[in-house]
Amino acid sequence: MSFPVRQIRNGDFRAAAKLITAIERGDPSAVPILKALAPYTGRAQVIGITGPVGAGKSSLINELTTGYRHLRRRVGILAVDPTSPVTGGAILGDRIRMRDHLTDPGVFIRSLAARGAPGGLPVLVLAEALHVLDALGMDVIFIETIGIGQDQTAVASIARTTAVVVNPTLGDEVQLLKAGFMEIADIFVVNKADLPGADRMALQLAELSDAVNPAPVFKTSALKHEGLDELIKGLNDIGKKTRR
């Protein structure tokens, strides 16, 4: 076993982080390491979290991570933010909402820039980074997509379960249909349920999804820490059903 492979299998965060960087750079040295790690992957529960800008995706991941840590599951998070098309730079700000877990040795958080990937989702980088976190021993892995109104449906191709997060104020359900979210959702989350209109939104979603692609609807408030146990149970139930 090569050195980085052994380190990652031993749960070394630094080695895992370096390998993800090599993957992002397209560095050929990553290839044999990934190959050697392959036998130790395929075990993690991979959950895609998508939805419009500011819906509370990162805040929700923070809360769900708390829940999964209580269940003694180790949690990996891959959070994608947009790259500036002009300069190629990026401000990656999802971690700031995941404050509760920054020093927990059972949680690994990595921010990734979209770097011009189609739909803002660097699918191939994510797929390989998932293997790294899986081999690192993470039991649950979240992928947070960028929130802009681009086509982010590709997340469903790499996540075992895809949760679409919306807000009560989103209003126009036609927008949801247009964005292609209805088709990919395994589960809907109406977050910010502390704001008015959550019940109405949940009902609308349930009706719409019945017509297109039946999926359960949950209400949460990341702010008030509400509805999270139910959502975790829902994610686990779905996870069982959709297991490949």
Binding site: F13, R14, A17, K18, I20, T21, E24, R25, G26, D27, P28, T83, S84, T87, G88, G89, A90, I91, L92, G93, R95, I96, L102, T103, F108, I109, R110, S111, A113, R115, G116, A117, V123, L124, V125
Partner: protein, 143 residues
């Protein structure tokens, strides 16, 4: 589907820098401006905002595999805070990450910080371009 990154002959090196305010004080105007200036220079910035502890910074820096950490400090405790960051980086075997700082730091304290391993200290009034230059040049020589 082909892997996009493989199309370029040379692996793409895009510097990653963690930018944060450390300690209990304040407002985030300064760090935000630095973060934006670095982004506009083509750098990927992991932005951590206010109220971070040395441990939060170092663990985040390791997981994000950054090339540099930029810390803004407005507290009289700058020496203690920087010292703790450098100690934790060493402990994580991550002391190859360049650390630079900014804030109201008395000039007589700067040599002491440099001795701790802090690469550069930017006091108020430093043009943002100087910080951008430091990051770009400093990281280039690092390879």
């Amino acid at each position: 589907m082909t892997r996009q990154t493989k199309q370029s002959p040379r692996p793409l090196h895009r510097p990653r820098v963690l930018v944060a305010k450390i300690g209990l004080d304040g407002h985030d105007r300064g760090v935000k401006l630095v973060a934006k200036a670095l982004r506009d220079a083509g750098i990927e910035v992991i932005y951590m905002g206010l109220h971070n502890t040395p441990e939060e910074i170092v663990r985040s820096a390791v997981q994000e595999d950054v090339d540099a950490i930029g810390l803004s400090i407005l507290s009289a405790a700058h020496r203690t805070l920087f010292k703790e960051v450098m100690r934790l980086l060493k402990k994580q075997r991550a002391d190859d990450i360049a650390v630079f700082g900014g804030g109201v730091i008395p000039s007589e304290d700067i040599p002491g910080l440099k001795r701790l391993g802090v690469r550069a200290v930017f006091t108020p009034g430093t043009p943002l371009e100087a910080i951008v230059m430091f990051v770009k040049e400093g990281l280039k020589s690092k390879g």
